[in-house]
């Protein structure tokens, strides 16, 4: 795709063209579909990666929940590139794509992402209008039906953590939830990519209660954090969201977990605040390389523990 680079931040039009190209250039491995449209009418693209096969289980990976977290969509693009480039060359990648499908949602909050390129680099929420308020947008990661708006979220449309008028009030979160609900028999893991802080979180955030398979999730997160540190010694903290950072209801990882997807994680990528949301492009490659190792670890674990 002209102008697209895996080691630069790409604007939405470039990402759209890239989704079309990557699917057209790898018809045996990648297909593109639309799972809905955003508040401002943009198609929400989903890529499906994997060798065609019957009754395959899947992992769902999304990026771009919060508009200003630009390293997140960069990782989803990197992940797809690595998958198609290494299929047939790297045994582990080939096995993963032969035995699992990966649903990759390159940018969830597209309207917000576009707005960070055109108007306000620091924008976080969606761009939907809130009835009775001049304030725009909902925090998509407070808008899922998981303890919705009970804790760590705001009922004020002007707040950065506004939970929305109702669960899944946002077209973007409803499209994501509808798709996952429609594929619960195959989706066995949910990974959502955010930044920053270098955290690997798992349920719950809407309560201090621990998930049923806490020990398992904690040991997966511990091992994945080792992978994250293995290349550049990038230190990650891991644990259940509520006690590791703070309680926050309406998050997608909690929601996916309560749908029965027992491997559900939130990544908060680099860095720890030196640049924050403005991570330089020079760090895209190392950040994506280390994150890919952790995602591959989790994917292999899921493959060996299908349920």
């Amino acid at each position: 795709t002209s102008g697209h680079s895996y080691e630069k931040y790409n604007n939405w039009d470039t990402i759209v063209a890239w989704t079309a190209d990557i699917a057209a250039q790898n018809p045996d491995l990648v297909s593109r579909s639309v799972i809905g449209e955003t508040y401002e009418g943009r198609p929400i693209y989903l890529l499906k990666l994997g060798k065609s096969g019957s009754n395959k289980k899947a992992i769902f990976l999304d990026c771009g929940f919060h508009a200003r977290e630009w390293i997140s969509p960069a990782f989803c693009q990197w992940f797809v590139k690595e998958a198609v480039e290494n299929y047939g060359k790297d045994t582990a990648v080939t096995t993963l794509l032969d035995k699992l499908d990966f649903y990759v949602l390159p940018v969830v909050n597209i309207d917000g992402y576009v707005y960070t390129w055109t108007n306000d680099r620091m924008w976080r929420k969606t761009r939907s209008k809130n009835a009775g308020s001049i304030c725009i947008g909902t925090d998509p990661n407070r808008n899922l039906d998981a303890g919705w708006c009970t804790i760590g979220a705001s009922k004020s449309p002007c707040s950065a953590t506004y939970c929305g008028s109702a669960p899944e009030s946002e077209k973007e979160t409803k499209a994501l939830a509808d798709f996952i609900r429609g594929h619960l028999s195959t989706i066995k893991a949910y990974l959502t990519i955010h930044s920053y802080s270098q955290l690997l979180l798992f349920p719950y955030s809407y309560t201090y209660d621990l998930p049923k398979n806490y020990q398992e999730l904690n040991s997966i997160a511990k091992a994945a954090s080792k992978e994250l540190a293995s290349l550049y010694n990038t230190k990650y903290t891991y644990g259940p969201g509520a006690e590791t950072i703070y309680p926050a209801a309406g998050g997608s990882d909690d929601w996916a977990y309560d749908q029965g997807i027992k491997y559900s994680f939130t990544f908060e990528l680099r860095d720890t605040g030196r640049y924050g949301f403005l991570l330089p492009e020079s760090q895209i490659k190392p950040t994506c390389e280390e994150t890919l190792l952790a995602v591959k670890y989790i994917a292999n674990y899921v493959l060996e523990h299908l349920y």
Binding site: K8, Y9, S154, A160, G273, Y275, G276
Partner: protein, 93 residues
């Protein structure tokens, strides 16, 4: 968005007690403060690392208030516009 963030700063504080958390709440209520972490001032607890962005014309007052309150702080990003420009490896897009 050229220069939209010129001279804006990002501060880091670690409130030591409830009183300092209260001061941050007050700060957030009188100033346009964009919390980077945690997501919102309502989530701030003592000993938590708190990063927030302040607009140029308010950062002097914010520093004064933090000093006055005895809250130790660090300036993570001294000029947000410079950091924003630096995120791109080259100006050529």
């Amino acid at each position: 968005q050229d220069l939209a963030f010129d001279r804006q700063k990002v501060f880091r504080v670690i409130p030591q007690n409830d009183k300092q958390v209260e001061t941050l709440n007050f700060l957030a209520s009188i100033m346009e403060v964009d919390f980077w972490q945690p997501d919102s001032v309502t989530l701030v607890k003592p000993k938590m690392q708190v990063d927030f962005r302040v607009e140029a014309e308010k950062s002097f007052d914010v520093e004064g208030l933090l000093k006055e309150s005895g809250i130790e702080y660090q300036v993570l990003i001294d000029n947000l516009q410079a950091a924003l420009d630096a995120q791109f490896d080259s100006k050529v897009r």
